[in-house]
């Protein structure tokens, strides 16, 4: 996907937000887990403290004694991770697990949960339970402390994280996939619009369909209005060109007639007038073609298949003088398409074929190539052209005054071809004569 793809950007933004949300969720869940673990541990310690509180009594010397110790084996294992301690003033009774140390939580905490340091330096979570025993008047204040090593909790936390992280990663994958599909679905109208625009470019469609969601419809509507306006302008330009051509045809015919009439009196002047009239006709035709081509350079890139046009033109050429005696060879792939309207191709190829017809001795060859850059060449076995003459074609210059009607045709063909994005090149043919080759980008 390209860097400026909306889909890519939306997808990345969604993925980033999902990742952020899941990271926050992971942190939140870990905090909640820590709280729950603390609360659960404190609850268990509190029960043990109450169990001890129910069993503790005082010896005659005032030291606390326990009728039975709490059953957990960790209380009996030195540094076992679970500890209890009963304080009665200076007399202290401890679990065996404390071994050579004591619990010493903050004295300010009279009751509740507190953090303290264990015998082996580890962090402990401790529950302090104050206790008053003895008959009224002879009461003794005691303190029961039960504590558990936080490393026991850390093991539960590690187990939780080992499950949580893959779960969140999997969730990220699923959500990102869902968002990708969502974005794809949301941008679907633009893909359809793109395909429809391509169809308009290719000429298989003149307008865009209007069945788009409300958000896209104004754009489609405006594009359609633009297409319609172009179509109208094109029609107007063609009409104007046709009107002008018809308007000039009669005066030029009159001029030609006048030239012929004055031939007996002054052959030189008559020939000159006829020549100038013909030149005017050529220039007018060229100018009109240019105007028409310019007007059709719109959004739509039309295309037409070359082979049928070539066959039709050759059939026409065979009916013209000198045409039937020539050997016309057509070798054009069926898939070859010219990037313009059929009329334009008729104009270009017609001029080239007509030129070949006039100059060829016996053979004219039409070849096409549809692979990569596409091309269409017209070759003849006539006298060919000098490089200087070839250079003159671009300027609309005639290169032979002995054959009427030549020169302008080639120049018009070049104008029309260039308007469609094709190059017209001239060179020497293997047949011996001129090779006129049209070349345009493939695809």
């Amino acid at each position: 996907m390209r860097r400026h793809s909306l889909r890519l950007r939306l997808g990345l933004a969604a993925a980033a937000l999902i990742a952020l949300a899941l990271v926050l969720a992971g942190i939140g869940l870990t905090v909640i887990l820590d709280r729950v673990l603390d609360a659960r541990t404190a609850d268990g310690l509190d029960r043990t403290a109450k169990l001890i509180a129910g069993r503790v009594s005082l010896a005659p010397d005032g030291s606390p004694i326990l009728s039975r110790e709490p059953p957990d084996p960790r209380f009996a294992t030195p540094y076992g991770g679970l500890y209890w301690q009963v304080e009665a003033g200076s007399h202290i009774l401890r679990s065996r697990s404390l071994w050579d140390k004591s619990l010493d939580p903050d004295k300010a905490v009279a009751s509740g949960t507190v953090d303290t340091t264990g015998p082996d330096g580890g962090r402990l979570i401790a529950v302090v339970q104050p206790l008053t025993i003895g008959p009224g008047g002879a009461e003794t204040e005691l303190r029961v402390i039960v504590a558990e090593d936080r490393r026991n909790l850390a093991a539960s936390r590690t187990t939780f994280l080992r499950l949580l992280v893959p779960a969140l990663v999997a969730l990220f994958g699923v959500l990102t996939l869902a968002m990708t599909l969502f974005v794809r679905r949301a941008l679907a109208p633009f893909r359809v619009l793109q395909a429809d625009l391509l169809a308009v470019h290719a000429g298989t469609r003149t307008r865009l369909p209007e069945h788009f969601p409300d958000e896209v419809r104004p754009l489609v509507h405006d594009l359609n209005r633009l297409l319609d306006a172009q179509e109208r302008a094109l029609v107007r330009a063609r009409d104007a060109a046709a009107d002008m051509a018809h308007g000039l045809k009669t005066p030029l015919a009159v001029l030609d007639a006048l030239a012929r009439r004055s031939e007996p009196a002054d052959p030189a002047l008559s020939a000159e007038i006829a020549e100038q009239a013909r030149a005017m006709g050529g220039q007018v035709e060229r100018a009109l073609t240019r105007a028409r081509i310019a007007a059709s350079g719109d959004l739509r890139r039309r295309s037409c298949r070359v082979a049928p046009v070539a066959e039709r033109l050759v059939a026409t050429m065979c009916r013209l003088p000198e045409g039937d005696s020539l050997d016309w060879a057509i070798s054009v792939p069926e898939t070859l398409a010219y990037p313009g309207e059929e009329g334009e191709l008729m104009e270009v190829l017609g001029n080239l074929l007509d030129n070949a017809r006039k100059w060829a001795h016996r053979r004219v060859r039409i070849t096409g190539a549809a692979a990569g850059d596409q091309s269409l060449a017209v070759e003849d076995d006539g006298p060919g052209m000098s490089p200087a003459a070839i250079a003159g074609i671009g300027r609309g210059q005639r290169w032979d005054e002995t054959r009427p009607g030549t020169g302008f045709g080639i120049a018009i063909a070049r104008d029309v071809a260039e308007a469609a994005g094709a190059q017209l090149e001239f060179g020497r043919s293997a047949l011996g004569g001129l090779r006129a080759a049209l070349r345009w980008p493939g695809g």
Binding site: L131, I133, G134
Partner: protein, 100 residues
């Protein structure tokens, strides 16, 4: 109240899970209850906690002079431990002194 009751019963479970002698008094209590000589423990606990609010931290069933008596230790919210004696046959609180 329910959670506290549950906590109490758990604590009692802990008590019962202790040495063999504890199981013996539990066996005695079950047999007495089956014979109809005592009320169930939940009634006893309800009556004791109504008289002295707090967590029951010790349960002791005694048989003297032909009567079953429960001796309960209840730890109040103030940390004071009180002994409550309840007649096991009638679930009546006999005595709630400060402690033994």
């Amino acid at each position: 109240m329910n959670t506290r009751r549950a906590a109490c019963l758990c604590l009692l479970g802990l008590l019962a899970g202790a040495p063999a002698s504890a199981s013996e008094d539990a066996d005695r209590a079950r047999q007495a209850l089956e014979k109809g000589e005592i009320r169930p423990l939940d009634e006893i606990l309800r009556a004791a906690q109504a008289a002295v609010p707090g967590d029951v931290v010790s349960v002791d069933l005694k048989h003297d002079d032909g009567r079953w008596r429960y001796k309960l230790r209840i730890l109040g919210a103030d940390g004071k431990r009180r002994t409550v004696k309840v007649d096991a046959g009638s679930a009546k609180v006999l005595d709630d002194d400060d402690d033994d």
